[in-house]
């Protein structure tokens, strides 16, 4: 990927933006707590890490995906009191699965614009409320006239996309399964993980077929959870921490709604979003300049797909890098060191905790047992969603 160098006033901002605290709940089926209570628990942790009180928070951004999961229209307003939003400017953003990185992007513009010096970003998803299965809610994202009468299931799209990706680059399922093996093993070191386990490529290939080529262990699980981030202006960052992590670039883009008309084998929406974020971060060669990545991995092939969209691998090269161990936690380009959605769980918007949250922890050297082996300065995290067509990207650095 080639990214042009940008100079002058493009992407001008009022002030730099740092992340100084993050928190997340365990990801699992959580029937007991309400979405408000989950949000509260995640925010408490983030405030503690940032050594702040709720009274220090000026504005709040809430990220939560479809209302259909919780079964409440105007879910953002419903979640307000557990999100620390009472009596202050508060907004909900949502771009489906892309929300986990889009919500911190919204937090970024709150601070970068100078409107707020301290912005809390919280993401929540409670999928277990939705019956007969969270999957049922996805039926209603389809075009009611062209797609819905065929009774599709969301896994179909991914199966078609995975099939096309494998065909165009002649990739074997074995190579794709390695991502699931890696991420679920990485998740063994994550205290919030739902599906951490040591598995083998054979386990993936022999798991229950869902919509071929997609099998059960190629997929992340539905989950409940919340995550939070505290984003601040430089003068606040200096007061509360010695290790702020700076947001150096943000980007987002959407491909056409007609998913059938897309390339399928290459996520253009991610590439466009990544170029915007890299231009802002003055990154011209992502393969050399990115030290650690959290590409969105709701499916194993999706991590590979997204690495290519992010310009971290050439088209069709991501499976080779994975096979060679480059993306392992001790590799040259660690990908999903958190354990990702495949290992930690996939409470849609709340995956902010394993994408933007994990990248912050890695760059602040606060990832504990999950800390990658190499020295890290700059990283990228990404999410994907809406009607499978939005890419959301954030670049962070521990150097300003």
């Amino acid at each position: 990927m080639e990214v042009e160098r940008v100079s002058g006033l493009k992407f001008h901002k009022k002030q730099d933006v740092a992340i100084v605290g993050a928190g997340m709940t365990t990801f699992k089926r959580r029937l007991n707590e309400t979405g408000k209570e989950l949000s509260f628990l995640a925010i408490k942790q983030a405030l503690e890490e940032a050594d702040m009180d709720l009274s220090d928070i000026e504005m709040v951004v809430m990220g939560s995906a479809p209302d259909a999961f919780d079964g409440l229209h105007m879910k953002g307003e419903y979640l307000l009191d557990g999100s620390g939003g009472s009596d202050r400017p508060y907004m909900r953003v949502f771009v489906g699965g892309g929300t986990g990185v889009f919500a911190p992007i919204a937090g970024y513009w709150h601070v970068a614009s100078g409107l707020a010096d301290v912005c809390l970003v919280v993401c929540e998803e409670k999928m277990s409320s939705c019956m007969p299965h969270p999957q049922s809610a996805f039926k209603y994202i389809w075009d009611p006239i062209l797609d819905r009468p065929l009774a599709p299931n969301l896994i179909w799209i991914f199966a078609l996309e995975m099939n096309r990706y494998m065909h165009v680059h002649n990739i074997k399922h074995e190579d794709i399964a390695l991502v699931s093996v890696k991420n679920k093993a990485n998740a063994l070191d994550h205290p919030c993980a739902q599906l951490a386990e040591k598995i083998t490529v054979e386990d993936v290939l022999n798991s229950e077929p869902m919509a071929l080529p997609v099998r059960r262990l190629d997929v992340s699980p539905p989950s409940d959870g919340a995550a939070a981030l505290i984003m601040v202006a430089p003068h606040i960052a200096r007061q509360v921490t010695d290790n702020p992590v700076w947001v150096t670039g943000v980007g987002w883009a959407l491909d056409t709604t007609m998913w059938t008309n897309r390339d399928l084998y290459f996520p253009r929406y991610v590439a466009e979003a990544a170029k915007m974020a890299y231009r802002m971060a003055h990154i011209t060669d992502p393969r050399k300049e990115i030290d650690v990545a959290e590409p969105y991995d709701p499916f194993d092939y999706k991590e590979l797909h997204h690495m290519e969209g992010l310009g971290l691998a050439k088209k069709g090269e991501a499976p080779i890098l994975t096979r060679e161990g480059v993306t392992a936690r001790d590799g040259d380009l660690p990908c999903s060191p958190s354990g990702g959605l495949l290992g930690v769980g996939n409470p849609i918007a709340a995956t902010m905790g394993v994408k933007a949250g994990e990248l912050y922890w890695q760059l602040a050297y606060r990832a504990g047992k999950r800390q990658v082996a190499k020295e890290v300065t700059t990283g990228v995290c990404q999410a994907w969603g809406d009607l499978m067509q939005v890419g959301t990207v954030m670049v962070m650095s521990n150097k300003r």
């Binding site: 007991n32 707590e33 209570e37 925010i43 009274s55 620390g84 009472s86 409320s129 939705c130």
Partner: protein
């Protein structure tokens, strides 16, 4: 250009659609305690913020204003009318056989209110500030729901 004169959808190719989902809502750490105490012990639970002292009713596990933890306290469940309306139409705008009085009730000893029905009182007798108390279902019939309180009546 505009199709506003087509009022019969049968003139166009058209499709019916329904969103067929249902949900299981839980009431959370604090809500669960509230409903179980109401169902099994005839008690009304509120939650007091350990920092600012605000008392939330129904209870919550956190104070929404300073994110401190709360402690559970028992209250009487009685209160007074803060506002009321006499509803003549139901939720689908069909006339009600008998008008219902809906009131916001300030619960004694708390900073919280709840919406509920007022009965055993005529609409013209209701006054703001009027003292009211809850009437509960028979214990055997209670389900741990807000409708375990049948209505409020003047006390």
């Amino acid at each position: 250009m505009f199709n506003e004169k087509i009022i019969d959808p049968a003139e166009l190719r058209h499709w019916g659609g329904k969103i067929e989902l249902y949900w299981i809502y839980t009431s959370g750490e604090a809500g669960d305690r509230f409903f179980k105490a109401l169902k099994d012990e005839d008690k009304f639970i509120a939650a007091k913020c350990k920092k600012c002292g605000k008392v939330f009713f129904p209870p919550r596990m956190y104070c929404e204003f300073d994110f401190s933890e709360t402690e559970y306290v028992e209250v009487s469940g009685e209160g007074c009318v803060r506002a009321f309306t006499v509803a003549k139409l139901d939720k689908n705008e069909k006339p009600l056989e008998k008008p219902e009085i809906y009131a916001i009730i300030d619960i004694d000893g708390t900073d919280g209110c709840m919406i509920h029905l007022l009965r055993e009182v005529e609409p013209e007798e209701v006054q703001i500030g009027m003292k009211v108390k809850p009437v509960l279902k028979d214990k055997a019939e209670r389900e741990g729901k807000i409708t375990d309180i049948l209505y409020f009546k003047p006390s």
